[in-house]
């Protein structure tokens, strides 16, 4: 079994893909029992991490701006306002 990256180092997408592949491998039923238990443990870790990320997700917004030299730089920008207050 190949060495796996720690779950927290994976992006959401990577973790999500690994979880799907892990489940498919388990579903194929071709794994050794020990290996499948290992995969299960890893899958549970991935699930937990993904859930936590969904719960804590905060929108990240940046704006592509030209700096003084005319090169493009990414400037952090405000996330969308989700308040329901009526703006006048």
């Amino acid at each position: 079994m190949t060495e796996r990256k720690p779950v927290e180092e994976l992006t959401y997408k990577e973790a999500s893909q690994e979880l799907e592949l892990t489940i498919r491998a388990l579903e194929s039923g071709e794994m050794e029992l020990e290996e499948s238990l290992e995969s299960y443990t890893r899958g549970v870790e991935l699930l937990k991490s993904l859930r936590a990320r969904l719960a804590d997700a905060e929108q990240k917004v940046s704006v592509l701006l030209k700096d003084a030299d005319g090169g493009d730089v990414l400037e952090p920008a405000a996330a969308a306002d989700t308040s329901d207050d009526l703006k006048i």
Binding site: I23, Y40, L47, L54, V61, S62, L64, D72, L74, A80
Partner: protein, 488 residues
């Protein structure tokens, strides 16, 4: 027909008039009228016949230069079934006029006419003398205003379609979950906020990079082209680019029908999702992009699954994970149970067979009753002994007989010899009595000549060896002479 200058600038009637028309119609009516006024006229009171009046009017119309007229089509019923010519009206708010497009002209059209179209028609007025009806006869026509723009857009769309820029095979797949998305639009409008809000609500995991650009008016296509290039050059590259703009008039949205911008969208190295205007709006950028959405909000929603869906997906994966693992464990356990069963049954089969063999062995007589074997042997031995005894039972009788025979033989033999011994003794005595030795003893001798016992003198001759047996020995001598006994 003669050719006409299309500028539509008013010119003098005489200049606009062709020689052919002058020849066909003779002198212009009003010239004639003017002339006749000088001449005193044709009619008594200067009145014209209908034909003259109509001809006058027709001539006046013919004298008009070629005109270009803009008007809305109305009463269009398609080309006449028999002639193929089109008869309808064009109008504006205040006026209307009959319009004719001859079959030959209509057959060269690039679009079908229908009511409500704004047309730009170029042609001349004509008066049909039989009815006095005036018509505008169009020698060419095209869509006017927005219609013309739409026509141009349609032509451009067709051109790009022919080039293959709209082929479904060209469209790149957009990841189901884009986590990094560039938004190319105006940063000052409500659209960028809509996109941000939509994605924040739907899926805050999507990172947004806003790239500002003018989206309408002069220079907008160029700015958008540059913004697309800048967005595509962001490191790391975004998963897709949202090219969006809020609703507007057809003219407002014309920016997105720009050929250069359309080509830039098609050539963009990052997949482009378009959301331009409102639902029914469709721009060329929409057609050449990789995914077309009807509004900016719809475009934003299309790039990532809703967070609720992700939660559902995670829940279903959790179930699958548990199900797959417990299935693996269950099947491993079932396999073990199976093996246990097989081991048990194999062992019990083996043991059963051993037990049967053992029982069979135990049932053998040597083990069940060892005494019986000895008994058997004893009986066999007894039988043998019996048979042996039986086989020697005649021996005693025979011995007795032998004993008897022996006795008889002994007795018989003795008897035989006894009697013979008696006889023999007598005979011996007799024999002894008769023995020549006894005779010799009494002085007799036996002479042996060369030929044995000599019983006659003839048996010996002088010189012969002669042996004379006496009772106690022999006398050897040589015959000296023979003397027979006279009278013998």
């Amino acid at each position: 027909m003669s050719t006409w200058n299309l500028t539509g600038a008013p010119r003098s009637f005489s200049g606009a008039r062709s020689r052919a028309q002058r020849e066909a119609q003779g002198e212009l009516p009003w010239e004639r009228a003017g002339a006749s006024a000088g001449d005193g006229g044709e009619g008594a009171d200067g009145a014209l016949s209908v034909s003259q009046a109509v001809a006058l009017a027709a001539g006046a119309l013919d004298a008009l230069p070629t005109l270009t007229v803009i008007g809305e089509v109305t009463g269009f019923r398609g080309p006449n079934a028999r002639s193929g010519h089109c008869y309808f009206q064009i109008k504006d708010d205040a006026s209307a006029v009959d319009c004719i497009i001859w079959r030959g002209v209509y057959s060269k059209r690039t679009f079908d006419l229908r009511d409500g179209m704004q047309l730009q028609l170029t042609g001349n007025f004509n008066l049909y003398k039989a009815t006095g009806r005036m018509s505008f006869v169009a020698k060419s026509f095209a869509l006017a205003g927005e219609g013309m723009l739409r026509q141009q857009v349609a032509a451009l769309a067709e051109k790009l379609r022919r080039e293959g820029l709209m082929d479904a095979a060209r469209k790149r797949p957009i990841p189901a979950f884009c986590t990094r998305v560039a938004v190319v639009t105006s940063l000052s409008g409500a659209v960028i906020d809509d996109v941000k809000r939509t994605l924040r609500r739907r899926n805050p995991l999507v990172e947004l990079i806003c790239v500002g650009s003018k989206v309408q008016g002069e220079g907008a296509p160029e700015e958008l082209i540059e913004a697309l290039a800048r967005a595509a050059a962001i490191e790391p590259a975004p998963d897709c680019i949202l090219l969006v703009r809020g609703g507007g008039s057809f003219e407002d949205l014309m920016t997105f029908n720009d050929e250069r911008l359309a080509r830039a969208v098609a050539a963009c190295p990052v997949p482009v999702v378009t959301g331009i205007g409102h639902e029914p709006d469709n721009s060329i950028c929409d057609m050449v992009g990789d995914r077309r959405c009807s509004t900016p909000t719809a475009a934003a929603e299309s790039v990532a699954p809703a967070i609720g869906d992700l939660e559902d997906l995670l829940a279903s994966r959790e179930q699958r994970l548990a199900a797959a693992t417990s299935h693996t464990v269950r099947s491993a356990s079932a396999r073990i149970d199976g093996w246990a069963q097989r081991i048990r049954s194999a062992m019990s089969t083996r043991l059963d067979r051993a037990a049967v063999e053992l029982e069979a062995a135990a049932r053998r007589p040597c083990l069940t009753s060892p005494r019986a074997i000895i008994e058997g042997r004893r009986m066999e031995l007894a039988q043998t002994a019996e048979r042996f005894a039986a086989s020697t039972s005649s021996f005693d009788a025979r011995r007795h007989m032998l004993d008897m025979a022996h006795e008889r033989l002994t007795h018989g033999g003795a008897a035989i010899t006894a009697s013979r011994a008696t006889g023999l003794a007598a005979q011996a005595a007799a024999l002894d009595a008769l023995s020549p030795l006894k005779v010799l003893a009494r002085g007799y001798a036996i002479a042996y000549g060369p030929h044995g016992v000599a019983t006659s003198v003839a048996d010996a001759a002088p010189g012969d060896e002669l042996r004379v047996r006496l009772a106690d020995g022999d006398i050897l001598g040589t015959v000296a002479s023979v003397e027979p006994v006279a009278g013998a």
